[in-house]
């Protein structure tokens, strides 16, 4: 449901923006919606760049754990929680890994879309699927894996009646598919005019869901087979699950060393392919302002390195940025939806999607009209949750403090970004003038 109501229409709109305007996020908003909307593209870009700056640090974690796996660090009796805490406290090591990640992304992005990105993705994406299939098959043969499948695939009627199930599904889809991040938009700057937007958007969403499904087929049976407290492991969040619980299991189970290498290699490939796409998104914006590719790559690379360092040095700051800009993706999606409504949903479909698609189902795109409703419900839910986490103090905002996940810190940082983008609207509009010649 969430794929069809949220991700596919949003990605289709992004595809139109990129293909028609032949410009990145900021320039495409100016081209599609008019000069006065340039700020909306800029705000979307700020939100996604806010993620780029800390996400590279997370890619560095995956690379470090892949190195641990290759070096045979995961042995029986290893205290994986202590290992994680020691690593998390080492800001210098994280900074060096982060710099390595940015350098890799810059190298690939500097080679251009066909020479760098496409070649890298042709290896990375099938690589992720091959590794996940291998891990899922290995997990199936673990004694007790059936308990994991029972947990994973048992549907309870009470869950279907619980609104939280739907809210979490929408939140998951918003984050996992990357719809509304401007990445799909940026890739569509380079496609041919006849490219089928609906089919590509649908394929991307199903590929993402398939990868998630396979990852679950690997992780959940493994946890239920070996973990003394499977529910605690499942509820420990992504970081705890991957870097503490899964690592612990890999150090104990037969063949765990090979599984650990495959698992962290898949994580590195998945995380790196996302970071490269985000760096490309930033580089495209600078190219729209007239920078050549080499200069644009250096520009976004150095900016990422400088603004990502605080997250590499301080885990609390990273958590804060993840909270603020992660939820910000909902706002980015809303801006995209409002932009589409401003132009006319039917008009976009008739002129830019329907003539080139095999999937002539207008309802699949028309669902974008409901975006303000989805945004109000999901964002309202997150806001309400965050208020309950900090009774009486939810409005406090200092990022490096105990107020990491307050509503205050999120609203303030969004508000500052929005005001700056609105003030710079004309300045940015004057500079976004270099469309890609196709």
């Amino acid at each position: 449901m969430a794929l069809f109501l949220w991700a596919i229409p949003l990605m289709a709109a992004e595809g139109v923006w990129g293909k028609v305007s032949r410009m990145g996020i900021i320039g495409s908003f100016k081209h599609m919606c008019g000069r006065g909307w340039t700020w909306a593209g800029a705000l979307m870009a700020v939100i996604v760049l806010g993620i780029v700056f800390y996400y590279g640090v997370v890619v560095g974690w995956c690379m470090r754990y892949l190195a641990y796996a290759v070096m045979g660090v995961f042995r029986p009796g290893l205290d994986t929680e202590a290992l994680w805490k020691a690593f998390a406290a080492n800001g210098m090591q994280q900074s060096l890994l982060f710099a390595l990640v940015v350098a890799i992304c810059m190298f690939i992005t500097s080679k251009g879309v066909a020479g760098g990105l496409e070649k890298a993705c042709k290896v990375m994406v099938p690589g992720i699927f091959i590794l996940l299939v291998f891990l899922a098959i290995r997990a199936a043969f673990l004694p007790g894996a059936v308990k994991g499948y029972e947990f994973y695939f048992t549907a309870r009627a009470s869950d279907f009646l619980n609104p939280k199930t739907y809210l979490e599904a929408f939140t998951q889809v918003a984050w996992s598919t990357g719809a509304g991040w401007g990445l799909f938009l940026t890739y569509f700057v380079y496609v041919k005019k006849s490219e089928d937007i609906m089919l590509t958007a649908t394929t991307t969403c199903f590929a993402d869901t398939s990868a998630g499904f396979l990852a679950g087929m690997c992780v959940i049976p493994t946890i239920f087979a070996y973990s003394p407290d499977p529910m605690a492991a499942v509820k420990s969040g992504n970081t705890g699950l991957a870097f503490i619980h899964m690592t612990k299991l890999f150090s104990e189970i037969p063949g765990g060393a090979i599984m650990a290498i495959a698992f962290f290699l898949a994580l590195v490939l998945a995380a790196l392919s996302s970071e490269i796409a985000m760096i490309e998104m930033g580089a495209r914006i600078l190219e729209d302002a007239g920078w050549d590719r080499k200069k644009a790559t250096w520009g976004i690379g150095i900016t990422t390195l400088l603004l990502g360092l605080p997250s590499a040095m301080n885990m609390t700051f990273l958590d804060n940025q993840d909270w603020v800009w992660g939820i910000g993706l909902l706002l980015a999606g809303l801006l995209m939806g409002l932009g589409a409504m401003k132009i006319g949903v039917r008009k976009i479909w008739d002129e830019h999607i329907e003539p080139y698609t095999q999937m002539k189902h207008y309802w699949m795109f028309a669902a974008i009209r409901f975006f303000p409703v989805w945004f109000a419900i999901i964002f309202g839910w997150w806001t309400w949750q965050a208020i309950t986490w900090y009774p009486g103090e939810w409005y406090k905002w200092l990022p490096i403090s105990k107020y990491t996940f307050t509503v205050g810190t999120m609203y303030w940082q969004w508000a500052i970004a929005a005001v700056v983008c609105i003030l710079l609207n004309n300045w940015l509009a004057d500079r976004m003038t270099h469309r890609l010649e196709v």
């Binding site: 499948y149 029972e150 089919l199 394929t203 199903f206 869901t209 398939s210 499904f213």
Partner: protein, 32 residues
């Protein structure tokens, strides 16, 4: 029951992906 649910999820998710990839391949063949 969980086996039936797993089969349904597999058919919908992986089947959906295969369907999409098949149509992309057909479109490419048509261009060539």
């Amino acid at each position: 029951m969980w086996m039936f649910n797993m089969a349904v999820v597999m058919v919908v998710v992986l089947g959906g992906l295969i369907w999409c990839l098949r149509h992309i391949a057909m479109a490419k063949d048509g261009e060539e």
